[in-house]
Amino acid sequence: MSHNKIKIGSATPDQNGDVTLNLTDLSDVSGTPSVDQFLKYNGSGWEPVPGGSISSVEYIFIGRGEASAYSNSPHGTGSFSSSDTIYVYDTAPSNTITGATITKTSDWIESITLPAGNYAVSGQTNLIFSSSGYAAFGFYDSSNNRLSQLGVIGENRSSGAGGGGDLAYSILELTASTTIKLRLYAISGTIDTGSNQGNTPSEAGLIVIEKLG
């Protein structure tokens, strides 16, 4: 008869009857942690994860340079006016922000609804002009209140914006669920019609949103 048959977790006694129990002998711990790793609960047990993987930022990423004629967007084939929505094309937008939704038509993103919180938003586009000018744009809410600073494009952008940047970027502090969209603020000269924009807006269009703490 042996008294050493007992097993604790997955550890068994040595010839002296001593049991050396390691973390990995426990029933609900999987894997072997390495230096600088953490234990993370996965819903049923604990698993080691690298330090870099324990923090994460919720984000939305729209715009991978895919080609689609802008006339396919809800804008259609017509001309542009100074308060038009700017549509951004993406057949597989990424959205990890809990509670956020993306509204789109035929893969053209029209708006994004964000839950209350703080967000860093980046927006960008490119448009073809039929006469020299500029187009300024930024993020707006559904009541057409401007929420962000503006980006501006066009050969004559210095005349309207003093030479600002191509990227609309701001931090939004939303106290309630808010629907935002990329929209023109002002234009000068003539932006070519939707028919003549070709793939330029779809390839250049971009919206990146990072949720902040």
Partner: protein, 220 residues
């Protein structure tokens, strides 16, 4: 006499003389939720939600070092090749790189980088990297360049995979190229490629290097 009276942290053996232990049989772990991590508290252990901060993994900074790139022009399909030999990439967090060495690099040079590699040892499958770049090559009159972050090593533009918008720039435009890369189980290579161009652009020189931005951060 019974040999089964033994208990370990109040857990008794089963009929096979096995005592199954969970972490909570050894330390106090109150109601952990998925994705929470273990943290030592004053007396017991606690769980907490990981912070939602991103981590810097790449940053390029022109440190005023004197250099000459020679005269090399970008072609469509080329890697955009920032300098690296004077510590310009002052942040490269466990990221290896391939120096300019392919037919898609304007010159072959160990002083320039064509692409980055994310080892699964440090960036496991599912890790998310957000790239960002504003390029500033030497621009000749009437020239423009459009760049895009793409996955693929020494392959044609058509055989590489775009991961972000196409960023156009000339002397009056300066768009930002973003790229979202989700790490896989293999160490793929990510580089900035010249998708379109008009006219001639040379490698970024010293004066213009101060206005060039290349960064990446880990989101998840």
């Amino acid at each position: 006499m019974s040999y089964k009276k033994i208990t370990v942290n109040n857990q008794a053996p089963n009929t096979s003389d096995e005592i199954s232990l969970n972490l909570s049989d050894i330390i106090t772990v109150a109601s952990p939720q998925p994705n929470e991590i273990l943290k030592k508290a004053a007396t017991d252990w606690a769980t907490e939600t990981p912070s939602n901060t991103s981590k810097a993994v790449i940053d390029w900074f022109y440190n005023e070092a004197s250099f000459s790139n020679g005269t090399y022009y970008y072609d469509q399909g080329d890697y955009f090749v920032p300098r690296r030999s004077s510590g310009e990439f002052h942040i490269l967090d466990n990221i290896s790189f391939t120096t300019a060495s392919s037919s898609y690099s304007p010159p072959t040079s160990s002083a320039l980088i064509q692409s980055f590699r994310f080892s699964p040892s440090f960036y496991p499958s599912g890790a998310v990297i957000l790239f960002r770049a504003v390029v500033n090559p030497e621009r000749f009159s009437g020239s423009d360049i459009s760049v895009q972050w793409r996955v693929g090593r020494n392959v044609t533009l058509a055989n590489s995979t775009p991961i972000g918008n196409i960023a156009y720039s000339n002397t009056k435009y300066g768009a930002t190229a973003y790229g979202l890369y989700v790490c896989t189980e293999t160490a793929e290579e990510i580089g900035l490629r010249v998708v379109y161009k008009t006219g001639n652009m040379e490698l970024t020189n010293r004066a213009h290097a101060r206005f060039q931005q290349i960064t990446a951060k880990r989101l998840a």
